[in-house]
Structure formats: C-alpha cells, structure tokens
C-alpha cells in the first residue's frame, strides 16, 4: 500500500488549492504563483518525441490564441529533461512549422508529477498520463481531466470547459450538458419553497421548479 502511494503521490481534488511548485521549464524557472491572476491549464504528457503527444502539442498551440483571448496560460509537463523538451519543440517547428509558444516543465525528479497525481502506475510507473488541470486566477483547481496514454485530448472540450467556468463565475449560473457559448444556462436550484414558487413567475424557461434555464 505504502509503495503504491509512493508511486502515485498526492491526488489533488477539484476545489483545493493547486499544489505550489518551483520548476525548471523551457522558459526558465517558474513558480505556480507566477501565474496568479490568470487562468492556467497545467497538462502532462507521457514523453517527448512520441506521436500522440506531438499531435497534442500542435493542437494546444493552435488553440493558444483562443486561450489568450480568455486570459488562460498553458504549461506542459513531462518526466523529461529540459534539453529533450528544447530538442523536441525545435523538431516540431522544423517538421510542421508550428512554434510551441508555452513553457514545458522538465520534471525529471517527478516532484510536480507526484504532487499532482500525474503518475498512474497501472498505465506507466515512469511516465505521466495525459492530465489536464484547469486552475483559476486564485490558484484553485477547478477541473481535472485524465486521459489514457493512447488517447489524445480534445481541444474543443478544453475550450468549452474554460468558457463554461468563466460564464458560471461571471453570472452565478450553471451550464447544462453539451452547453456551448450562446446557449441557455441553468439557473441555480431554489433553496426554499418560497423561492421555488417565485422563480416560476420570473419568465425563465422551466421544465419544472428545479430545472429552469435562461438566456444571458
């Protein structure tokens, strides 16, 4: 049991402060606190110079301008050296013309990987799985996604989650299944009988008292 814990490290949860770190990256030494005030997507990949990871890095670079518009920074991570990261991003640019604009943590000590529960020994004892941590400007973990080694991530879904989180934060609402920006949002359920009766008079589109939607 102790051995498993040693291999997996801490498993962070949504709503908790993101574990602090100071790490060597392709953009120099960076601390988590350097990102304070911005949204941050911290994501891990299994290894440099591997095919699925290369497609993901190109895809993350393609959505980078959209993320910047939303005040979101990207930070990659794998258990590789900074020289390997530099060689890989140069190779990606040379072969595909795509410049990787965001920093990548070189986590050879696995310190950050273990603090964020990025190593899942059932998949690999030495590589990080495909994790995505969406961290808000107050450095609270708001979303965690885990993908297996063999499945590349869906950038549309990552952008959709960012849009949903920013919309719910701004408007104190929730977003229904398959929500997209511009769709109706869910009004928080009422806490009292009086509120339940009142909301039916407020012009929302209600299926019943507990499921009401509105346009923003």
């Amino acid at each position: 049991m102790e051995e498993v814990k040693e291999q997996t490290g801490h498993m962070p949860r949504i709503g908790e402060p993101a574990p602090a770190f100071e790490a060597v990256t392709t953009h120099g030494m960076l601390k988590l606190e350097d990102f304070k005030g911005s949204w941050l997507i911290l994501f891990s990949h299994p290894a440099d110079f591997t095919p699925v990871c290369t497609t993901e890095f190109i895809a993350f670079s393609e959505i980078h301008p959209e993320l910047q518009k939303r005040g979101v920074e990207l930070l990659g991570l794998s258990v590789d050296s900074v020289s390997s990261h530099i060689a890989w991003v140069r190779n990606v640019e040379e072969k595909t013309g795509v410049k990787i604009p965001f920093p990548i943590i070189a986590d050879l000590s696995k310190e950050v990987s273990l603090d964020y529960g990025m190593i899942h020994p059932g998949q690999s004892k030495t590589e990080t799985v495909r994790c995505v941590f969406i961290i808000d400007p107050n450095q609270i973990i708001r979303t965690i996604l885990y993908y297996p080694l063999t499945t590349g991530r869906n950038m549309d879904e990552i952008l959709r989650i960012i849009d949903a989180l920013q919309t719910t934060d701004k408007n104190a609402v929730a977003t229904p299944a398959n929500w997209r920006p511009g769709d109706m949002v869910v009004v928080p359920p009422p806490n009292t009988q009086e509120m339940a009766e009142e909301r039916l008079k407020q012009g929302y589109e209600c299926t019943d008292w507990y499921l009401c939607k509105k346009k923003l």
Binding site: H27, G28, M29, L30, K31, E33, D34, F35, G37, S38, E73
Partner: protein, 73 residues
C-alpha cells in the same frame, strides 16, 4: 536562466524588461504590457534580474540597479 545568458548578458526578453525599467519604478504588470511579455515570464524574469543584481525590488515594484542601468547604456 531565461533572462540572463550563461555569459552574464541579458537575453532578448531580459533586455526588454530592463529597458522597460529605464523610466523608473514599475510593477510587473506595467513591465509585461510595455515589454509585450506574458506576466508569468516577467515575474520569473524579475526574480532572475534581481538575483543577478540588475534590478531591485521596492515593495511591489521594480527599478534598475546601477549595474542594470550600466548594462543597457
């Protein structure tokens, strides 16, 4: 280091930050805007420039040190 080369000279991003400090005390946010660099890069870069004695922190703002001013003359 991202802002200072192994030969002790500031890199392009380091020089941008030092030049932004030429006009006096500035916050990391002001430097990021002026140097067109991401705020996280500026925060980490200012740590490096301070450690190298090229910039000085005063409360939440930064200014050039004598050494830093000399370097970008």
């Amino acid at each position: 280091m991202a802002c200072i080369s192994p030969d002790g000279k500031p890199t392009e991003s380091g020089s941008k930050m030092l030049r932004a400090l030429q006009a006096g005390l500035k916050s990391p946010e002001e430097i990021a805007k002026e140097a067109s660099l991401p705020l996280f890069r500026v925060r980490s870069g200012l740590r490096e420039l301070s450690q190298a004695g090229l910039a000085k922190q005063r409360d939440d703002r930064y200014e050039l040190s004598e050494k830093g001013a000399e370097l970008i003359k």
